[in-house]
Symmetry: C2
Subunit: 337 residues, 2 copies
């Protein structure tokens, strides 16, 4: 299955990219070099480059949400930039916490500039995001509140994810809560913040947030599936990487909770100390599937996506905007393996 990048994403890059660059230029030199590197605006020596920037999905959603409210996308550029900055704040910090050494095919910022530099750059992007909105009363203030509520949930979700590593009693409900906080909350914010920023009625903003929350949940479930069965050329990670890392992702948690023989065999395999061999990783992935973990996760993704589309149908907006929202939701939940 091949899915092409929705057109709105390139538009968002062109509109929001310069605003992000301008915002980053406000930072002090020592912090800016790390932020610019992480955002793909500069190499490790601070020389301008255009490699390794993100997909700009969240800015695209933010601009769409302004259009849903009948405004021009330009009106929501600060909100779109703010969401993207917050997303990158969380990537900078998560890469440290998760010990990840590569992102967007480049070494992660903490491996290049040290943990201190990456912590600070993340902090700076977070505050910058709030600043962009606080500078634009009256609706920017509301947008700032939406954003900081989403950030608090993002932090809660990452906290739960870290705690999962030390727990062996993670339930399906915990996993759903975690994904709701860690992924869906910021997606809900991205899908509604542009509307909030242009002063749209609360009913529209709430409808868009409901769409975003469900699309975000479906996105996370897809990511969990790709973490085990995704093609390495798509995910940039070896097959089975979440199994190898013994991550408490939804397929694994549902398999462990399945009460099946395959589930028990999986639990025994994962409880073995030391690194899993290639064969064991493959066997564990098969056991997850045999225990129904794949099917169950696909069902959660499908149901969340259906709810997202339902919210999208119910919200009043121009048809072309609705179609673009739908295209992005399809894009981020495409299962490519």
């Amino acid at each position: 299955m091949t899915v092409t990048m929705p057109a709105g994403v390139q538009v968002a890059r062109d509109l929001v990219g310069p605003a992000i660059e301008e915002a980053v230029n406000r930072l002090s030199a020592d912090v800016r070099i790390v932020a610019a590197y992480h955002l793909g605006l500069a190499d490790a020596d601070g020389r301008p480059t255009r490699s390794g920037s993100g997909k700009a999905l969240r800015p695209a959603l933010a601009l769409l949400s302004a259009r849903a409210a009948g405004s021009k996308p330009e009106a929501a550029v600060p909100a779109a930039a703010a969401v993207e900055l917050v997303h990158n704040f969380s990537l900078l910090h998560d890469d440290i916490m998760d010990g990840d050494t590569e992102r967007r095919h480049r070494p992660t910022a903490w491996t290049v500039f040290g943990i201190g530099g990456a912590i600070l750059a993340g902090d700076a992007l977070l505050v910058l995001a709030e600043d962009l909105l606080l500078e634009r009363p009256p609706y920017g203030i509301w947008a700032a509140r939406c954003l900081s509520a989403a950030v608090q949930r993002l932090i809660a979700g990452q906290g739960a994810d870290l705690a999962f590593e030390r727990r062996d009693d993670v339930q399906v409900a915990d996993c759903l809560d975690m994904a709701g906080d860690k992924t869906a909350a910021l997606m809900a914010c991205a899908c509604s913040i542009g509307a909030v920023h242009v002063g749209a009625p609360a009913t529209l903003a709430m409808g868009l947030a409901a769409f975003g929350a469900n699309a975000g949940l479906a996105f996370q479930m897809t990511d969990d599936l790709l973490g085990i069965w995704g093609a390495p050329e798509v995910t940039g990670k070896p097959v089975g990487s979440d199994v190898r890392a013994r991550k408490k992702s939804m397929p694994i948690v549902t398999a462990l909770a399945s009460g099946t023989e395959a589930g028990s065999a999986l639990a025994a395999l994962l409880a073995r100390p030391g690194e899993l061999t290639e064969d064991e990783v493959a066997r564990a992935a098969s056991l997850v599937e045999a225990a129904g973990g794949k099917e169950r996760t696909e069902a959660i993704a499908d149901s969340a996506l259906a709810s997202a589309f339902e919210s999208l149908e119910q919200a009043e907006m121009p048809d072309d905007v609705r179609a673009e929202f739908a295209a992005i939701a399809e894009f981020i939940t495409a299962r490519t393996w």
Copy 2:
């Protein structure tokens, strides 16, 4: 020289402590346990305790600034809590970056909960601080902007401080800029945010901020002096600890820039690879003093404190409030060795 804690500090603790506790209770369980531990509200297992909380200097200043504007201190409690939360956000993150293992006579949060937990708790306190203010329009919004401007400078200062470790060309001006960002900016914010939060005229807020910036600079210079000559029972660190760590603090930077023989001898000693012996630390401290580093730093501190008092005199406020501001400025710049 003995200086007793100004009375306003205990008042601030009593007023602001419950607001901070209430705010922290909003955090998710996994993040809250780290934040509560760091703030001295709980032990490592989450059991309530009352050990190791900070001195509440910044909340005391924030409450005073509301009184300077003719309001009751109670009116500025959210602003005071926000400044204290931001201060603690920076401590949580700085302790990781600086590798510090002890704070307020307890193990630092990252040594207890891991780097990930401490990063997240810091992030959460930062967002919580902004939330407390954004919830209180109209003046809370202005207070939030003051606070986030201060946080951006705090981050810039910490970034410069980290960069200093890799530089051997740090000048006195760099050192002043760094202290202005890292310490003085948040102190200026603390001394004015209460006034901003109760809607005081900008002239008063600016006068208070000028007082705070200068008092903050004097405070940092005093801290730099204590870092070399402070009594261990006051600083909680061994004598000469900043020399041992080869920190680019003001006494050392001014000594190195002095063009004296002692300055050159100091440069040679600090350039030696490996850890310094006790004797070498003592010798380096003597060289800093002989090169005029102590005297010069004391002069900067004295001049900043004089400027602070000048701003304090010029600002219109009740006499008892002015006296309390002065008492805190004296307290934080007392040289105890």
